[in-house]
């Protein structure tokens, strides 16, 4: 396919979902293979890069971890804007978190149309005994809205890599479909802010680290 001719591709992926469903845990597990049961609430979005290779196609995922707290989203869609894919996370032991996924799907489809690849993720599958969200309901919903569905456990490292790689494949496919060229330019726009005037890379004048 046309993909193989592209040297390197970057995709922006954003994680969304209610507070405490395990978004940060999933990202840390995937990017750094760590799990820390006692880390901290996300208040401000952050992002990490992960480089992967799918069937010889090198790609970089710029993964954005956002805050689950609903109120912090009032600031606007800045974090999901121009994303190529979204990971919508719920906690299988928390019905309300699944409702929140549905709200997100609606918002994303409304704002970004079908351009974006969606992965719906039921996290904390290690807590199967406490499951509140029925498997069928979740899977049915996902296929209805054109999303893939995954179960993961950031704690036990189950299904995490598969989910991110699966999403990456979807994004590659969509990318190829949308026509490499036009898509490429929009990806580039997402990843790189190109401006023509003013400050240049002034290496060595950085005063940070003080």
């Amino acid at each position: 396919m046309a993909n193989s001719s592209i040297a390197a591709v970057s995709f922006k992926v954003v994680l969304l979902g209610k507070g405490c469903v395990g978004k940060t845990s999933l990202v840390l597990r995937y990017v750094e293979d760590k799990f820390n049961g006692k880390h901290i609430t996300t208040i401000q979005a952050s992002f990490l890069n992960k480089k992967i290779n799918i069937d010889g196609q090198r790609l970089t995922l710029a993964i954005w971890d956002t805050a689950g707290q609903e109120k912090f989203h009032a600031l606007g869609p800045i974090y999901y804007r121009s994303a190529n894919g979204a990971v919508l996370v719920y906690d299988i032991t928390d019905v309300d978190s699944f409702q929140k996924v549905k709200t997100w799907v609606k918002e994303l489809r409304k704002m970004l149309g079908r351009d974006m690849c969606l992965a719906i993720v039921g996290n904390k599958m290690d807590l199967e005994e406490e499951r509140q969200v029925p498997v069928e309901e979740a899977e049915e919903y996902a296929s209805k809205v054109g999303a893939t569905h995954w179960f993961t456990s950031a704690k036990l490292n189950q299904g995490v890599e598969e989910m991110f790689v699966g999403l990456a494949r979807d994004m590659l496919a969509k990318n190829a479909l949308a026509g490499t060229l036009s898509r490429q330019s929009s990806i580039r726009r997402n990843m790189l802010v190109v401006t023509d005037d003013e400050p240049a890379p002034a290496k060595g004048c950085c005063s940070s680290g003080a």
Partner: protein
């Protein structure tokens, strides 16, 4: 591009030569070379009887690096290159043929100097851009060092004048020094007879010891002098005159100056931080009834140095409204009892819920589970909150649940646990921590409102403040889709709690709780941080993503005492600025004509003052400036960054 060196017999003298110059942009035909490093030359045509008038007198040439290597190789065996004159380092003239061949084959970038009508060189990076008469970009270079650019600017000023534009201080109009009118201006400026003023001379003499700073101060004087009284051109001339005065005194001073124009802010004054409020100082203020005698001076001491950890427990209760400032010992005792009673009353409301009742009260039970999840992720790295079944986590949970019922309309919002954690860790008492938390929440409650308007408002204010003190930085944010300042969200939401160690948080918060020296001082802390990191923020063409990442990674790296110190300096600069706008005034709550700006200064000798900027010295400097101005009608304009 013009066929510049088409004349066979033209001879050129090298005025400037710098390797490692990066070509950022130029005409489209040079696109393949964008981003390449090369050598920048400035050639001057040596005219003689044979030369044709079409040959430009000066031109810039940029050759890509590998080409330079090639040239050197050719150079060695070539007889056509003849060294005829030596100007400074290595200089060379060449016969036209060779040069022309090179140009044809590689396509060096040439810019005829007389086409350059303006150039942009900002103070904070080494990017330099040349424009023609219709403001089209001719070429844009990044010099390897600021010295190399200064050298370049120094060189061209031998034959052109650079006049900064008023609106954009990094943009300079290029005037031919030989043009008519120039001399007249020079005369009119000389008529002002600046140089006979003795304080002015004493300042100039200091230039030797500290060329950059002193010369910039001197400029502040001169620009201030002429700013309102004469037009832009004379404004420029004033500097030029000064420039020459400086070069008479010290050579190295001339490398600075001229192309750098100050912002119209007063000079930054250092307000040194002091020692924390001690137990003795606190006790000394209590009268027989245990009442504080002079609350303002206590608050001033806290603002200036914070509180020594051994009396923090007591003083925080005053700062957070648990005890009124004017309470007596007896009243406080009574308050302890009544506060305890009312705390347990509220707490009982939720501890007595039955399971069934809770299930039927989903608004409560949802928030309850959110609190539980959050306290389990609050400061668990600290020993105090670490480990399974930690009693302190249990207490945080209790306090937040009680607060939930105390203020059910607000509910529980993530982030609130971070505001409670340092308070509880200090007080170690549910009742006291609860009421102090209530006091803190009164100040920051709107941060957690549903519509987030308060947060948006603060972010906007932050932008306005940055714009006021560092327009270049705010412009950068604007140009890079960062004007929303979202990357400061966490700072403002929980008052830098997540960026600092617990003892630093305590220090910062107690300073902020005094309410000195102005409203919204916490915004100025952020402005100070941004200003401190400005070069890194603007480096590498950072966009929102990079800036957010950079800001997130500042966690644990901030020197909070220094930032408080800077923030106070910034406050005074803003307050004393001539062009203070109502918008900025409102943000900081500065009254229209503030009678005294001494609010935040220590009133007496009990507060130690350290550091170099003794008040006397500052006053002295100020008086020099005003002496200097007393005979003129002009307005004094100081520098933002000396």
């Amino acid at each position: 591009m013009d066929d510049i060196v088409g004349d066979k017999n033209a001879k050129f003298k090298e005025l400037y030569n710098q390797d490692g110059v990066f070509l950022r942009q130029a005409g489209e035909m040079y696109t393949p070379m964008f981003g390449c490093t090369g050598s920048l030359y400035l050639w001057e045509h040596i005219s003689d009887a044979e030369s044709k008038p079409e040959v430009p007198s000066r031109f810039l040439e940029w050759r890509p690096q590998d080409f330079v290597e090639l040239k050197t190789a050719l150079d060695e065996g070539s007889e056509e290159w003849t060294l005829i004159e030596s100007v400074k380092k290595r200089c060379r003239t060449s016969s036209g043929n060779m040069v022309k061949d090179f140009l044809n084959s590689i396509g060096n970038l040439n810019v005829c100097f007389s086409n350059i009508k303006s150039l942009r060189c900002s103070k904070h990076d080494v990017l330099t851009t040349f424009y023609d008469g219709s403001c089209e970009l001719l070429a844009s270079f990044v010099f390897p060092t600021s010295e190399s650019r200064e050298h370049f600017l120094g060189t061209i000023q031998a034959f052109v004048r650079l006049q900064p534009t008023r609106r954009d201080k990094s943009l300079f109009i290029v005037y031919d020094a030989a043009s008519p009118g120039f001399k007249d201006l020079e005369k009119s400026f000389a008529a002002l007879d600046l140089k006979t003023d003795s304080s002015f001379w004493s300042l100039l003499k200091n230039i030797k010891s500290n060329p950059y700073e002193k010369s910039m101060e001197a400029f502040a004087k001169v620009t201030g002098y002429v700013y309102n009284s004469v037009d832009d051109e004379e404004h420029y001339m004033a500097q030029d005159d000064l420039q020459r005065s400086i070069s008479e005194i010290g050579d190295d001073a001339s490398a600075y100056a001229v192309y750098d124009i100050p912002n119209c802010l007063p000079m930054r004054v250092d307000y040194p931080r002091c020692n924390p409020l001690t137990r003795e100082q606190w006790r000394a203020q209590l009268n027989g009834e245990g009442q504080l005698e002079d609350v303002e001076s206590i608050k001033t001491l806290i603002f200036r140095g914070g509180i020594s950890p051994d009396i923090r427990r007591v003083v925080w209760k005053f700062l957070l409204g648990y005890y009124p400032w004017d309470s007596t010992e007896k009243e406080r005792h009574a308050l302890d009892i009544s506060k305890m009673e009312s705390y347990y009353k509220i707490k009982m409301q939720w501890t007595t819920f039955s399971k069934e009742q809770e299930d039927n009260f989903s608004d409560f039970s949802q928030r309850k589970s959110l609190i539980e999840k959050d306290v389990n992720r609050t400061d668990r790295v600290l020993d105090f909150y670490a480990g399974e079944n930690n009693y302190n986590i249990f207490s945080l949970n209790n306090i937040l649940l009680t607060y939930l019922l105390y203020n059910f309309d607000l509910g529980y919002v993530q982030g609130m646990s971070y505001l409670l954690s340092p308070i509880y860790m200090l007080l170690r008492c549910e009742v006291e921590a609860f009421w102090c938390f209530v006091g803190f929440m009164k100040q920051v409650m709107s941060n957690f409102d549903y519509d987030q308007n308060a947060m948006k408002e603060q972010l906007k204010s932050m932008y306005l403040l940055v714009n006021f003190i560092d327009p270049q930085l705010s412009k950068y944010f604007e140009d890079h889709e960062c004007a929303n300042m979202y990357f400061c969200f966490r700072w403002l939401l929980v008052w830098y709690k997540r960026e600092l160690q617990q003892d630093e948080v305590a220090r910062l918060w107690e300073v902020l709780w005094t309410g000195y020296p102005c409203k919204n001082f916490h915004l100025l802390i952020g402005v100070a941080i941004l200003e401190h990191e400005r070069d890194a923020l603007m480096g590498d063409n950072n966009g929102f993503t990079e800036i957010l990442k950079f800001i997130n990674e500042l966690t644990g790296k901030l020197d909070i005492n220094l930032m408080i110190n800077h923030a106070e300096g910034i406050y005074h600069q803003i307050k004393d600025a001539d062009h203070l706008t109502d918008a900025v005034r409102n943000i900081l709550g500065i009254p229209v004509a503030e009678a005294s700006g001494l609010q935040s200064k220590p009133e007496d000798d009990r507060s130690p003052r350290k550091g170099v900027s003794e008040p006397d010295e500052i006053e002295f400097e100020k008086s020099i400036y005003s002496n200097f101005l007393s005979s003129s009608t002009g307005r004094l304009v100081f520098l933002f960054r000396p």
